[in-house]
């Protein structure tokens, strides 16, 4: 017990900040008279997330360390992904501050601190070194997210979204726990590093492969990849826009954190059956490749039929998860680098797009893509900004999205043996995705207006849009900025314990 108290708790500073802010906001929300606006609470939550980001950034120079019997690890991986999670969380909280559903927003305070709790879960996941902490933080993220989905308590769509999210989340949890139980059964420990070490001595490749598949399917719920992608469009459509943005960005990033922490740490060196793969993870490459290909195809093809902006972005986010999974399937030397890069870019361009969609939904009460018609005529800068985010999502050069995709492409072709089929599927689905992204751009620039002109963008949303647009452009033209950060993380050389 003694060493628990002597641990270096300052390593958890970002988590403490987020936790303290969440509890403080909860208390203030309770004490505040019900007729007072909760908007400052959301701003406070965003500020707390930004502060936690600064705290995380301040810890970058420190070497990797772990406390609490190696259940909490602070390595370059944890810091790097926490930065993305916090950036996404802070930006999503700006959307919460300007959330204006037609029935009013009495639950804005709840929205803000529940999102902070969810963010805390995601952050803890990035630092987990143990199955138990990993699972508990995953559940903290998930349960808070279910509540976020249902926050429009009087809107049936929101309730339906929450219920579907809970049911599917339950299935995912069950499958994942089942997989974890195999791992514990085989090794008798819950520590990730410990499991990896013991597995090298065991010779149960079939059992292990089963555990791997169960975990992969379980994780694919958070990633929204095939075969666990179908909940995403329904939940994204029904949930309030800030929550949708949070699921699409922070939850998905958390999913990839989980994927890397769990599957890479445990299986990278585990023995495997088969021709000559050096590890179980490598022997599973074909499965991941197929799932990545299917995800890209389904995400980009089905999106063609959507008229709801939120649903469309849901499918787009499925396609992007497919690209990310393709980057994972490549298992190149720069795999974590390229996933980090992609998720950073993905966060910026998605939140930017969601911020503008949030504005449209606030003003018109609908998220039909007709709402974009002729935006360029009355709000040219807004249209150009959304155009920029869409171009970036499509991966057009000159935007960050291109750099991120390029990184994954290079990973796919320079590894031996190269993954040409996957690269070709990625190239083709990218072209298919142009059809719907350009459909939106046509709406923006080439159509006359038939809705009332939109009002000015409120402060929170314009802050988010400006930050995201600057980031998207900066990384698009000077990707060196992001790569310098990767160099600071030492290309995640300390990832494996």
């Amino acid at each position: 017990m003694n060493d628990v108290w002597q641990s270096d708790w300052s390593m958890m500073a970002p988590e403490w900040i987020v936790l303290a802010a969440a509890i403080a906001l909860l208390v203030i929300d309770l004490a505040l008279p019900s007729d007072r606006s909760r908007r400052p609470l959301a701003w406070g939550a965003a500020a707390a997330a930004a502060l936690a980001m600064i705290a995380t950034a301040a810890m970058i120079p420190a070497g990797s360390a772990s406390i609490l019997h190696d259940t909490f690890r602070l390595d370059a991986f944890a810091k790097a992904f926490k930065l993305i999670l916090l950036a996404g969380g802070a930006l999503a909280l700006l959307l919460v501050a300007e959330w204006a559903p037609k029935e009013g927003s009495p639950h804005r305070g709840e929205f803000a601190y529940m999102m902070l709790f969810a963010l805390l879960g995601a952050m803890m996941m990035a630092s987990s070194g143990d199955l138990l902490t990993l699972f508990v933080s995953l559940e903290l993220l998930s349960v808070s997210s279910y509540i976020l989905a249902g926050l429009r308590k009087t809107a049936p769509a929101s309730n339906e979204a929450a219920l579907k999210y809970v049911i599917n989340g339950g299935i995912a949890t069950a499958i994942m726990l089942f997989g974890m139980s195999y791992l514990f059964g085989l090794t008798g420990t819950t520590n990730l590093g410990g499991i990896a070490r013991r597995l090298q001595e065991t010779n149960e490749p079939y059992m292990l492969a089963l555990a791997f598949l169960l975990l992969l399917i379980g994780v694919s719920f958070k990633l929204a990849t095939v075969p666990f992608h179908m909940w995403a469009p329904d939940v994204y459509e029904g949930a309030p826009v800030p929550a949708t943005a949070f699921f699409a960005v922070v939850s998905k990033t958390a999913g990839f954190v989980l994927l890397l922490r769990l599957l890479v740490t445990i299986f990278a060196a585990a023995p495997a059956e088969g021709r000559d793969p050096s590890s179980l993870l490598l022997s599973m490459q074909p499965v991941i490749t197929v799932l990545a290909g299917l995800t890209m195809i389904i995400g980009s093809v089905v999106a063609l039929r959507q008229r709801s902006l939120k649903r469309l972005l849901a499918y787009s986010s499925i396609a992007h998860a497919g690209y990310l999974l393709a980057g994972f399937a490549a298992m190149s030397w720069a795999m974590i680098d390229s996933l980090w890069m992609y998720l950073l870019v993905y966060t910026l361009m998605n939140i930017g797009a969601f911020a503008i969609i949030a504005h449209i939904v606030n003003e018109t009460g609908s998220d039909d893509l007709d709402g974009l018609a002729g935006l360029y005529r009355h709000r040219p800068l807004l249209a150009v900004a959304l155009g920029l985010f869409l171009l970036s999502l499509a991966g057009i050069p000159g935007t960050a999205g291109f750099i991120a995709k390029l990184h994954i492409f290079i990973g796919l072709v320079v590894t031996e043996p190269g993954h040409y089929v996957l690269a070709a599927v990625m190239a083709i689905t990218t072209v298919i995705s142009y059809v719907y992204y350009f459909n939106l751009i046509v709406q923006l620039f080439f159509r006359p207006t038939f809705t009332a002109p939109l009002g000015r963008l409120p402060a929170g949303l314009s802050t988010a849009v400006v930050l995201c647009a600057l980031g998207t452009l900066a990384i698009g033209w000077a990707p060196g900025l992001a790569y310098d950060m990767l160099a600071q993380f030492g290309h995640f050389g300390d990832f494996l314990p």
Binding site: P227, F228, W231, S283, W333, G398, A423, V431, R447, Y483
Partner: protein, 617 residues
């Protein structure tokens, strides 16, 4: 000055940003921003050219990003080819900027138009300065984006919107080939740099099979951008854009980017006989294919569009036949005369407010500047001796004869015949004959005529850079003195000349003589009586044989174009669409289904694993 070449694209970029921010306030004055910016680009480009004429290639690179152990650079490369393209693009762009001031006057989105033009010019200038494939690819895509915005400029027309999307997506299909080819080269050589790639080709690091594959894949990108068969169908549709745009993007610069790309990668292509043959064949087939379709079009801009496709095919044929110089020479002269033809067509449309040539006629007197200038363009493209097109086309024919298969040479000759025929069919229908209900038609303002005059001079003068008589200045400079004129037989010039005049003559018989009043004609051509008699005689035979045959083939090819090529495209789109509906239907809103799909997916994976016992695949 060459070290300042990177500044050239920045002026139009500045114009784009300024107009985006302040265009609404400046309204019609926006034109001056665009014109000034492109003029500065042109001046600097000319200074760079002067510098390069006496110097050697300048190249500068800066580190852009480091991925793992791979360093990617950006930079500029002032090779002869690049500097040449820089000047051509800056010049045509400036002229089109000037012209648009008159053509687009009064449009309520005037400043937006200039902003888009700035974006396009920036991207195009950036493209031709790229020292590596990746940078070229980036600007290649930005060029496509500028084209997309400008084709869809008249967005209230459904056709314009559809054309913009079609153009972007069709060229993107080609770009997938480009991208994969580029990645293949990168995988093999670990570099995007042209020089590194050429070195790898030279020392055998790149296997012959891989060279061919990469070259053909990149050529697919060029097929898309340069409107070559079978990815050409977007180009005629792109005529929905404003006419100055058609002149700049869809005649002079962007569509020539495919030719430029193959030329820039020429050592790669030269290393593979199969790739060269592919380029030559696609070029030759496109040249004749598009020319026959051009015969039956009734929209003035569509005739010119098919003509552009056909002429780009010529350039590809020249490249495939190994004559880099001929291709770039024709690219240059074509940029001038085709831009002239489009701008003149714009002036005609401006005057009569229709694009249908069957509703035009007798405009020679009403448009005293436009008409002769159009004639100069038409003479040049038809390859009439002493005009620029004559010299460049002759160069291509000579290359096709000496290096290419004989069949392609004859296809090129036939295409030349058809070219002069459809150009003069256009000329006679528009400018000759009786004037038809547009008495108010009047000449365009000076801002439109002046650029045409400059292009008119260039459509003649640019031919003398490279002639069999005075010397091969362009060729020697482009190849650093290694150029030698193809020792082609002298009769090729004669055949080319005969063919060109034959086409004009046939057009005159069919469209000129038939419609022109007798006295007008006899005043100019004294031997008209005899010719008229012969006209009826030849005309009958002509109608019975050549016309019916050609028009039959032409219709057939138009059908092939419309139903087969478009049909295939539609089939592919249909499959994607059907998959999309099936996917949406599966999404039935039932949480149970979603769970079941998940568990089924897991079960399938486990069963496959159990069956294969870990031996995947």
């Amino acid at each position: 000055m060459m070290n300042l070449a990177w500044v050239v694209p920045l002026f139009p970029l500045g114009s784009f940003i300024l107009l985006l921010l302040f265009g609404r306030r400046w309204k019609q004055a926006s034109a001056y921003v665009g014109i000034a910016a492109t003029f500065l680009s042109l001046l600097l480009a000319l200074a760079v050219l002067v510098d390069r004429l006496g110097g050697s290639t300048y190249e500068a690179n800066w580190t852009w990003m480091t991925i793992g152990g791979v360093t990617l650079t950006v930079g500029i490369s002032a090779t002869a080819l690049n500097v040449w393209m820089l000047v051509v693009v800056a010049l045509v762009s400036w002229l089109v900027h000037v012209y648009s001031q008159g053509y687009m006057a009064g449009d309520e989105r005037f400043s937006t138009f200039y902003a888009y033009l700035g974006l396009f010019t920036f991207a195009m200038l950036g493209l031709v300065l790229s020292p590596n494939l990746l940078q070229a690819y980036i600007f290649w895509e930005l060029v496509g984006l500028g084209s997309f915005l400008l084709i869809g400029f008249y967005f209230y027309k459904e056709e314009a919107k559809a054309a913009a999307k079609k153009a972007f997506i069709m060229t993107r299909i080609g770009d997938v080939g480009f991208f994969i080819g580029m990645m293949l080269l990168f995988w093999q050589t670990h570099s995007f740099d042209y020089d590194d790639i050429f070195r790898a080709v030279g020392d055998g690091t790149l296997s012959p099979g891989m060279t061919t594959l990469a070259a053909i894949l990149i050529f697919i990108g060029a097929i898309g951008k340069s409107g070559q068969f079978p990815l050409h169908t977007w180009l005629p549709d792109a005529m929905e854009g404003p006419t100055p745009v058609s002149a700049l993007i869809h005649a002079a610069t962007m569509v020539a980017a495919g030719v430029y790309l193959v030329a820039a990668l020429f050592p790669l292509y030269e290393a593979s006989h199969a790739a060269m043959m592919t380029v030559a064949t696609i070029g030759g087939v496109t040249a004749i294919f598009a020319a026959t379709i051009g015969l039956v079009q009734t929209d003035i801009k569509r005739v010119l569009a098919y003509s552009t496709v056909s002429q780009l095919g010529y350039m590809m044929l020249a490249l495939g036949a190994g004559s880099y110089v001929a291709a770039i020479f024709h690219l240059t002269t074509h940029a001038f005369f085709k831009a002239l033809l489009f701008l003149a067509a714009g002036s005609v449309i401006h005057a009569v407010r229709t694009q249908n040539i069957e509703e035009m006629g007798g405009l020679w007197r009403r448009l005293p500047w436009t008409a002769p200038l159009f004639l100069i363009g038409a003479l040049s493209i038809s390859g009439v001796p002493l005009f620029a097109g004559f010299f460049s086309k002759d160069e291509i024919l000579a290359a096709a004869w000496t290096n290419g298969p004989r069949l392609l040479f004859w296809l090129a000759v036939a295409a030349a015949l058809l070219t002069s025929f459809y150009m003069f069919r256009l000329f006679f229908l528009v400018f000759a004959g009786k004037a038809r209900h547009h008495e108010d038609a009047h000449e365009a303002p000076a801002s439109m005529v002046a650029p045409m005059l400059v292009l008119g001079v260039l459509s003649i003068a640019s031919g003398y850079m490279q002639t069999p008589w005075f010397g091969s200045f362009l060729g020697e400079w482009l190849t650093d003195g290694a150029y030698r004129h193809e020792a082609a037989p002298g009769w090729i010039v004669v055949v080319a000349t005969i063919v060109s005049f034959a086409g004009i003559f046939l057009a005159w018989l069919m469209y000129g003589a038939q419609k022109m009043p007798r006295d007008w004609l006899s005043a100019r051509v004294p031997y008209v009586d005899e010719l008229l008699r012969r006209h009826y005689y030849i005309d009958d035979i002509y109608r019975l044989t050549v016309v019916s045959l050609v028009s039959w083939i032409s219709r057939l090819l138009a059908y092939v174009d419309r139903f087969l090529v478009e049909g295939l495209a539609r089939l592919a789109a249909g499959i994607v669409g059907a998959a999309a509906s099936a996917g949406s239907r599966g999404q039935n809103g039932q949480a149970q289904t979603y769970g079941a799909v998940t568990v089924a997916g897991l079960a399938i994976l486990v069963v496959i694993f159990a069956l294969t016992g870990g031996y995947w695949l």
